[in-house]
Structure formats: structure tokens, C-alpha cells
């Protein structure tokens, strides 16, 4: 087989500069109305993407479609994961609500059900998973460990609630919550999805949204 170019060694890795200020451009800065009413940092000010279009009938149907086929990401950490799987299996079936395919890849998932205790070592990978999920995405904190640290409130290695690292939409209490409780939480999430209500989204650097050519003044 012909190799057109010789393989070269990859360049030496450069460690990231963790002290540098992180500048994240966002489109709220261009909006005069927002600036005038001092709403630039308001969670519901600014246009951040598709979710903020004024809802019309077609969007209502789109919301229904989204709500009725929320695909969860398999992120079972601990005991609540077993109850989550029990919710997904035959006796309490969330396939009735369209949530059977637990996606292994975050790129294909809509909702992250954090089921189980989040420890400080696992917080990094979990936030990476959250960042890799494409919008629109929601987060459900299942169980008391993810709501507030739960029974591990004084522990040295448990994150006291997953909302310290990511925005949460629905909290489902219980240790572990019964499958019926998780389904109730999913019903609340359906309401949120249909009403386009949710938590403040972390600002994400989306990069240039379109190609900007030299001398472009648009």
C-alpha cells in the first residue's frame, strides 16, 4: 500500500497553562437591548442557540418529540445505577417513555442521569462527559448523594452534590429512589422540556460559528 507522506512523530505535548485567563466570547455582548437593561448576565437574557426562539406551534411539537424520546447517558456510578437499570427493565419500564436506549456515547445522549455518589476523582470525567453532550441536554441528579452529598456528607472525597460541578434540572431524592420515584422525576423533566425551562447553561466557547473572511464586516 502506498503511503503518500512519511509518518512523523507528533509534536511534543505542551502542558496547558492553567493560570491563563480564560476568555470566552459570547454573543450576548453584541446585543444593545441586553446591555441597556443590564441583562447580559441574566440566565434568560441573550440568544444562545436554538432553545431561545419564541415558541410556536411547530416548536411545541418539536418539544413533544424531544420529551418523548429523551435518551439517557449510561452514567451509573453506584447503587442508584442498579435502581436506574431496574427502572429500565421489564417490571418498571421506562421504554414506555421512550428512554430505553441508554447510550454509551455522550455524543448521542440527551439527558445525563447522575446515578450514584460523585467522588472528587470522578468529578473530572463526569464534567468531561457533560461537556461532550450536545445541546439540548438536561441533567437529573438521582439520589441523595448527587443532590447534596447524602449519607456521605462529611466525607473527604465525595462532592457534596453534583450541582457543584454542573447545572442540574431535576433532583430525585431517595437512597436509592424507588423506580417509581425516578419515573416521577422523568415526568417532571418532561414538563421542563416541553416548557423550555431549564437551568442556567454554562457558557461554552462554540468558536467561530461561520467562516469569517479577511475584511468581513457582517
Amino acid at each position: 500500500m502506498a503511503i503518500d507522506r512519511p509518518t512523523t512523530n507528533l509534536p511534543a505535548p505542551i502542558p496547558p497553562n492553567r493560570n491563563a485567563p480564560i476568555i470566552i466570547p459570547d454573543s450576548a455582548g453584541d446585543d444593545d437591548l441586553l446591555r441597556q437593561f443590564d441583562m447580559e448576565e441574566h440566565p434568560q437574557g441573550g440568544f444562545h442557540g436554538l432553545l431561545e426562539v419564541i415558541p410556536t406551534k411547530a416548536d411545541y411539537i418539536l418539544d413533544l418529540i424531544r420529551a418523548n424520546s429523551l435518551w439517557p447517558l449510561l452514567s451509573g456510578l453506584s447503587c442508584c445505577a442498579i435502581e436506574m437499570i431496574s427502572t429500565a427493565t421489564s417490571v418498571n419500564d421506562i421504554d414506555r417513555f421512550g428512554m430505553f436506549p441508554f447510550r454509551a456515547s455522550p455524543r448521542q445522549a440527551d439527558v445525563l442521569i447522575v446515578a450514584g455518589t460523585l467522588t472528587t476523582k470522578m468529578a473530572g470525567p463526569l464534567v468531561r462527559l457533560w461537556e461532550q453532550m450536545p445541546e439540548p441536554k438536561w441533567c437529573v441528579a438521582m439520589g441523595t448523594c448527587t443532590t447534596s452529598g447524602g449519607r456521605f456528607k462529611r466525607s473527604y472525597s465525595v462532592v457534596q452534590g453534583v450541582d457543584r460541578v454542573m447545572p442540574v434540572d431535576v433532583y430525585v431524592p431517595g437512597c436509592p429512589p424507588r423506580p417509581e420515584g425516578l419515573i416521577h422525576g422523568m415526568m417532571k423533566l418532561h414538563e421542563l422540556v416541553k416548557e423550555r425551562r431549564g437551568q442556567w447553561r454554562t457558557y461554552v466557547d462554540r468558536g467561530p460559528q461561520r467562516t469569517r473572511w479577511e475584511g468581513d464586516v457582517r
Partner: protein, 427 residues
């Protein structure tokens, strides 16, 4: 092929975007994103550590020869043992070395228990091995009773043995389901969870909780049997043999299952003992060690059961071992139901117990092996040192010994046959 002049070619829009992003980042004073993995590559828990290797073994695993590659089966993966990370060094499809990275679920239970009263400790240990909660509570209960110098009433011992064997049955059933799931078969896990839901509803009618049953107390159990429990127990017992047979019929003679488990992950008895593997994994390698027979605790000397072993020591033997143990557990439950005496279910013990200073060690047979508790008391209301030895933690040491030479896809299958539960591994 047409020659394209690199100077005058029309640039690709995506490339232009990347160039502009690099220009913006440089203008902002940020370091350019790394060539591999973009801005996520700085996350040093994913790949090769940025720091020099600390130990000989780490140097051995993380230095790559010609043609080798590190594959990270990261903390989130579809096989549902929990959060474990395996850094697998592969050459092509063949595994050369495995380094398990644990601690993604370490909750500091031992340290929390040093500040909790003895009864509270029994609730803290529940979520360790969350599929075998009754066993998690059984060992500390025995250890605290030794420290305090009492023995629970006979009926309490019988109820303890009953719920412990029920827990063992559904835990082994789940292992069968997860083993098939890790190989891609999705049906057996659904059947295993139906089985589990039936038993768990049974246990919730006696303890009030579906999963982390807070059922054991120092000196007995919390609740006595009630009508709902006995009625569900009878119904369940009528159906269980048929259900177990239905569950195992799907996979035991299945060609694909046999091809993927026979002669895979063969562990000899001598190696298993050296590695500290216990429980069904050890008995499937031929060593007849069962704590219930070796150091009988509770009422196991009064009950009649066999210690079954298999000689081959491969994944298929570990699977068959668990089916045999389910049948033994059903036999034990029959005897318990026959022999259960009347009487109180909890000894008269004060709310906060203060045992005399001393040390106690209690070992029980959990579905994953020898689960033991070593507790030191200093005379106060809380234990001075509370140490749990979890069997899954020690059994994981077999993986780096068994995997080299095998294919990557067999890694999860062999691991599922050892049935580790990360809650117990990471405490």
C-alpha cells in the same frame, strides 16, 4: 492526480476556522491546543500520565514498545460494574498488559465509621457492595456482637440466614445477567432483573427498603416476619426453580456464550490463593474453601449444604459455579423455613452500645468471596478502627495476571465473570 499548489490553493473553511481560532487564542495569550485531542488533551487522567512514572510497575505498563498502544477503558463504560478504569496496553487486538485504576467511587466509609455509633455504622456499610447489602451488614453485626459479648436470639439468626441467602440468590442471578450483557446479550439481564425485583419486593416487605436494607442490628434484626413477607416468600419459592432454569437455559448452552467463556481467563487454584481470590471464583478453580464451612458463623453448622467446586477455573466454570450456588441457597432456604424457631428477633441492647476495649474479626461468605470486618473498640460509643476487607477489591488483582495474551474484547467478559462491584472495591 492533479497537482495542487500549496501556496495558491483555495483554503478549506474548516481549516480557516481552525487557523482563526489558533490566532484568537494566541492573541488572548492562551497556549495553542495540543495536536492530539484538542483542548481536552490536558486532562492527564485519560491517557499517558504527564508526570514521570512513580514505580517500577508503572514504568513497565506505561512504556510502549514498537506497535503497542494504550487504550483507556475509562471510568464511564457500558459494562455496568460501576466506575473502574482499565488502562490496557494492546498490540493490535491483543492485550499486553492491564493497569486497573480504582478510586472513582471511594467515599471514605471507613473514616466516616470512626465517627458513628455502632448502629449507625451498620447503615454506612450498606452501599459498599450494593448488590449484597445483607452480607455487608452481617459481618459488622457479628463483629460488634463479639465485642459486646452477646449472641442474638435463635430466631434472629435464622431470619438473618434467610435474608442473606435470598440476597445471594439475586446477586448471583444478576451476575449471570451482567455476564451476558457484557457480551452483548441484552435479554438475560432483563430476566435477571425480573428475578431481582421479585426478591427485592420480598425483602422490602420485611425491611422496608428495596435496596440498601437497613435490616441488621447489633443483637438481631430490626423487624420480624409478617404476613406479606411469608405470603410473598411462598409464592416466590413456588416459582423460583422454574425461573432460574428459564434464565440459565438462555445462556448456558448458547454457542456464542460458550465460545466466549470456555477456556477464557483460566485461573489455577494455586494462583487464586496467591492472589487472594475467594468465593465462587476460588471454588470454580477447584479449591473447596467456603467460609460457611471453614469457620462456621451464625447457624451454618446446623444447616446441611455442600461445597461445590469445578476444576476448570475458566469463566464458564465461574458461571456454572454460581448457578450451583443458587441451587444450594434455595436448599438452605428450605431448611431455614422448616427449622425456624419462635422467639424474639432482637436482644435487649441499649441504643448506644459501648463495648469493652478489644479487637474482633468476623468473616462471612458474601456472593463475591470472603468479606470480613476487623474492628477495634476503645470503650466509647464509636469504633476506634473499622476495617472492611472486600472480596471484589482483591479479586481484581487477577485481571492483570489473566488478560495478557487475550483479545481486548475478552477483557470485559473475563472481568464480568469475576463479578466485581465497584462500591465494594472502592469502599
Amino acid at each position: 492526480m492533479t497537482k495542487i499548489d500549496p501556496e495558491t490553493r483555495i483554503p478549506d473553511p474548516i481549516e480557516l476556522d481552525r487557523l482563526e481560532e489558533a490566532r484568537l487564542r494566541a492573541a488572548a495569550g492562551l497556549v495553542p491546543a495540543r495536536a492530539i485531542g484538542g483542548e481536552y488533551a490536558g486532562f492527564d487522567q485519560v491517557g499517558i500520565p504527564d508526570r514521570p512514572p512513580q514505580t517500577d510497575r508503572e514504568r513497565e505498563v506505561y512504556s510502549l514498545e514498537e506497535g503497542e498502544m494504550l487504550v483507556n477503558m475509562g471510568p464511564q463504560h457500558p459494562s455496568t460494574h460501576g466506575v473502574m478504569r482499565l488502562v490496557v496496553k494492546v498490540r493490535g487486538e491483543i492485550v499486553v498488559d492491564v493497569d486497573p485504576v480504582l478510586g472513582y467511587l471511594h467515599r471514605g466509609i471507613e473514616k466516616l465509621c470512626e465517627n458513628a455509633t455502632y448502629t449507625t455504622v451498620l447503615t454506612y456499610v450498606d452501599p459498599m457492595d450494593y448488590l449484597a447489602t445483607m452480607h455487608n451488614e452481617h459481618a459488622p453485626a457479628i463483629a460488634f456482637e463479639k465485642l459486646y459479648g452477646i449472641e442474638p436470639p435463635k430466631r434472629a439468626e435464622y431470619i438473618r440466614a434467610l435474608v442473606v441467602e435470598l440476597n445471594r440468590i439475586f446477586s448471583h442471578g444478576l451476575m449471570m445477567g451482567f455476564l451476558a450483557l457484557d457480551m452483548g446479550g441484552i435479554t438475560p439481564i432483563l430476566y435477571a432483573f425480573i428475578n431481582r425485583d421479585e426478591i427485592v419486593d420480598l425483602l422490602s416487605s420485611i425491611s422496608g427498603q428495596r435496596m440498601l436494607f437497613n435490616f441488621f442490628r447489633v443483637g438481631g434484626v430490626n423487624f420480624d416476619t409478617n404476613d406479606e413477607f411469608l405470603s410473598r416468600l411462598g409464592t416466590w419459592r413456588g416459582n423460583v426453580l422454574k425461573n432460574i432454569e428459564m434464565n440459565e437455559r438462555m445462556i448456558t448452552d448458547n454457542e456464542i456464550f460458550r465460545a466466549r467463556t470456555m477456556n477464557m481467563g483460566t485461573l489455577t487454584g494455586r494462583d487464586a490463593i496467591a492472589l487472594g481470590v475467594t468465593g465462587p471464583n476460588l471454588r470454580a478453580s477447584g479449591v473447596p474453601f467456603d467460609v460457611r464451612k471453614a469457620h462456621p458463623y451464625s447457624i451454618y453448622n446446623e444447616l446441611d449444604f455442600d461445597v461445590i467446586t469445578h476444576e476448570s477455573g475458566d469463566s464458564y466454570a465461574r458461571y456454572l459455579q454460581r448457578i450451583a450456588e443458587i441451587k444450594q441457597s434455595i436448599h438452605l432456604i428450605d431448611q431455614i423455613i422448616d427449622k425456624m424457631p419462635h422467639g424474639p428477633v432482637q436482644a435487649q441492647v441499649p441504643g448506644i452500645i459501648r463495648p469493652r476495649p478489644g479487637r474482633a474479626y468476623a468473616a462471612i461468605e458474601s456472593p463475591r468471596g470472603l468479606y470480613s470486618v476487623y474492628s477495634i473498640s476503645d470503650g466509647g460509643p464509636t469504633p476506634y478502627r473499622f476495617r472492611m476487607r472486600d472480596p471484589s477489591f482483591i479479586s481484581l488483582q487477577a485481571i492483570p495476571k489473566l488478560m495478557p495474551g487475550r483479545l481486548v474484547a475478552d477483557t470485559m467478559a473475563v472481568m464480568a465473570s469475576f463479578d466485581p462491584v465497584m462500591g465494594g472495591v472502592d469502599k
